[in-house]
Symmetry: D3
Subunit: 176 residues, 6 copies
């Protein structure tokens, strides 16, 4: 199991896209990674856009981000809230500085825009936020998954098979 | 009734912010304005974020935009969909070129970003999309209502009293 | 702002008609009025018929009704509950005795029936409760808004533009 | 089975009180009665206040009311709609003139008010509509079930055991 | 009232079939029986499959099962949870040993399977669990109600009139 | 991609467990498998227990089961419906006879019980249906995933990483 020493953080808030949160978590666990869910509140149940629950393991302010090898940002409407937390933006910026894998899918790009780490980067996202991504300095491409260095992005749920695989590969190859 | 010869268009899609759609419609009607609701489908019932229904009078593709004196874009999640329709972007651009009042509140700014009419303009919005607004070239201010020429913007439902009044004033003063 | 020294109370319970509660509140605030929301519980979130939330500022039993210049009763199913609280009936009766504006819309008339203040008054309401209104001694008319002295009534949401305006006018003209 | 030659009609609309509709239907069937459900639309599924479905057998306008030995009006919010249909009021009046059993529970009284058959009658109902019942000429009593001639009334779901029994007894004793 | 000295227990969990829980309770009360509702939690509101609420009187672990003359198991998805509680299985087994009436309807049979009391018994149930019932040793019949000794079973809500009557009869005839 | 020539069928009905349906589909697609969704109706949107939608590609009666290399049965309440369709049972039996991989998770075992293919097999499932599984002749084990020949079973969503991997392995190794 090539990810057995890896720790990944996923951030969550209400109205996350249900499959975009859970698919990558389970997929990384398959290869041995430990995945923690962090929310504004710890041990709190957040509810997805369709209704699937997700209980946070920790609150943002208790996370030691340097212990994690990668970060995942789910889509749905949650990113509209997540981008408002300084703790979330700081964690994303830290990962970017350390060049550790950052996964974003669908509307997750809003968080990366607010963290201001997209200038000059190749990305994809839901077409809905294409203009926001481009205005933030990114080069936007319409492909199932884009890997630009440690930045892995996808468009929507049907891209999940390619997205989670690409993130797992990046994680396996990356050494913090 | 100072608005009795005025016609206003409001655009709608599912998950509009219920009060942000309806309050300005009723407020303008009070002064005699005719307000039409347009959606991707005509005579279709759209449902607000909380559940309030709104039936569209017309479909986007049957609107003669030059007949309208102003346009309103509601908040909620609807703007994430509305910004994807070329007809909506064209209507907003037309209003901007003709300098007729454009009202936007909360997340409505996404539509104006995609219509690319914010460069050099003073606006407000929900703080959630502040970075998107700034990246699109706008100067973002944290006030209940900002009137910059024919562009009227507000942040959230409690700003509705000031917002609808400012839009009505702009409409009354504007001559197409 | 002709209402800047005015204080208005609106009473609330679950399943209020969402727009009938909120539209008049915002419309009066536009002209400077202070509007408080009172429920059986204070600082409690009540949910409208469609789902729009409204948090009460105060509980009924902490209200000093003589400090208010007018009272608003929203429609929906909330009036079926509101008419069962003696505090609500007493507040409505007090306003009636002092001839301060009382606004009622749609099903709100049930509260006025139980307060027994409709004998000989001209009113309107949803047609659904027409017989209840007439049996309570009122003369029932099918018009968008009826102003009979300090009693202002309307039928349903599309009457809100006329209703809130009529209530604001009554409030401005009334001196407690 | 003492009710095996009896036919009963129950009227329905959306947001009926789920148990107040279904309990009497099943209870009468136990003793052999045929119970039909009629709504504005025939073979249409109406949904109770809590969500229990009920499919109408017939539409109001196809009912031959003289073929029925009794009529049931459920509570919930449905009576607010049912009282607006002339067909419903006519059916209730017919039953009253023929002195065949009429059952009403909770908010069902609104229908009897609009049919204007309560003058001088002893009834009960949810306390919420007590004033409407009294204003319509009824003598209102706070008891689990009131049988006044062919008029059987109850207050709320916990009265259902006594209510359905009383209606069944009245039906058994009545000869059309 | 032939059941006036009888005490019956009904067990409940979330997603019970709304009518299958409530109809027998009310029907037995009509004849004077006392019916208690027990859940994992006492004085807790459980919600039916469609949304009808039911508040438990007691928690399983406070029940003195020997004081009860019969037990009712409702259908819906609740039996999938109820069969997992040892307290519930023990109560059902006790009733079986003492040959006191056990009522089961629809999916309630799952509980009796886990209590292992179906070997050689004639029963019915929703056809959905027919194979589970037969695999547990029962003889499965497709009839509205089956009474095999103290075991009374039915298939679905339309069988409720016959089911509750059969249970009441069994209760009246049984002497603990 | 070791599964690129493989075709898998998953059966669906309303109230499927959202993640138990979708996770295996995406996971198999990652390795190149084609996965079709079949329901009673083709091109029909089914809704998961929590609300995630799934559109069927085909109806049961148009499936040529011999073209598929494996079959997946999701959990949730859908299996309670799926086990009632002869087409579903026939497809499962066919896969069993041909010794092609059959995946079942949580409550999916009900379908295999009704297909009567569990005698002498080692399986797991949600503990809720343990007795049904054992009564159907299976040996029940409490482990994350059990592979007994071409039969792969798991208990609940957190087992999905191991479950989908085990099914993919079985599919890769199996030659129809």
């Amino acid at each position: 199991m090539r990810l057995k020493d890896k720790k990944v953080l996923t951030v969550v808030d209400h109205e996350f896209e249900d499959l975009e949160l859970w698919y990558p978590i389970y997929r990384l666990q398959e290869e041995g990674a430990i995945v923690h869910i962090a929310g504004k509140e710890g041990e709190h149940t957040y509810t997805g856009k369709y209704g699937v629950p997700a209980k946070s393991d920790y609150s943002f302010d208790t996370i030691q981000i340097e212990e994690y090898d990668g970060i995942l940002v789910p889509g749905g409407w949650a990113p509209d809230k997540l981008r408002r937390y300084d703790e979330v933006l700081d964690m994303v910026k830290f990962m970017d500085e350390k060049q550790r894998p950052i996964g974003q899918i669908c509307h997750a790009g809003w968080v990366l825009i607010s963290a201001d780490i997209l200038r000059g980067r190749k990305v994809t996202s839901t077409p809905g936020i294409k203009h926001d991504m481009m205005n933030a300095g990114a080069e936007w491409l319409n492909e199932a998954v884009i890997t630009d260095g440690h930045l892995i992005s996808s468009r929507r749920p049907p891209d999940l098979p390619a997205y989670a695989k690409a993130f797992a590969d990046a994680l396996a190859e990356n050494s913090k």
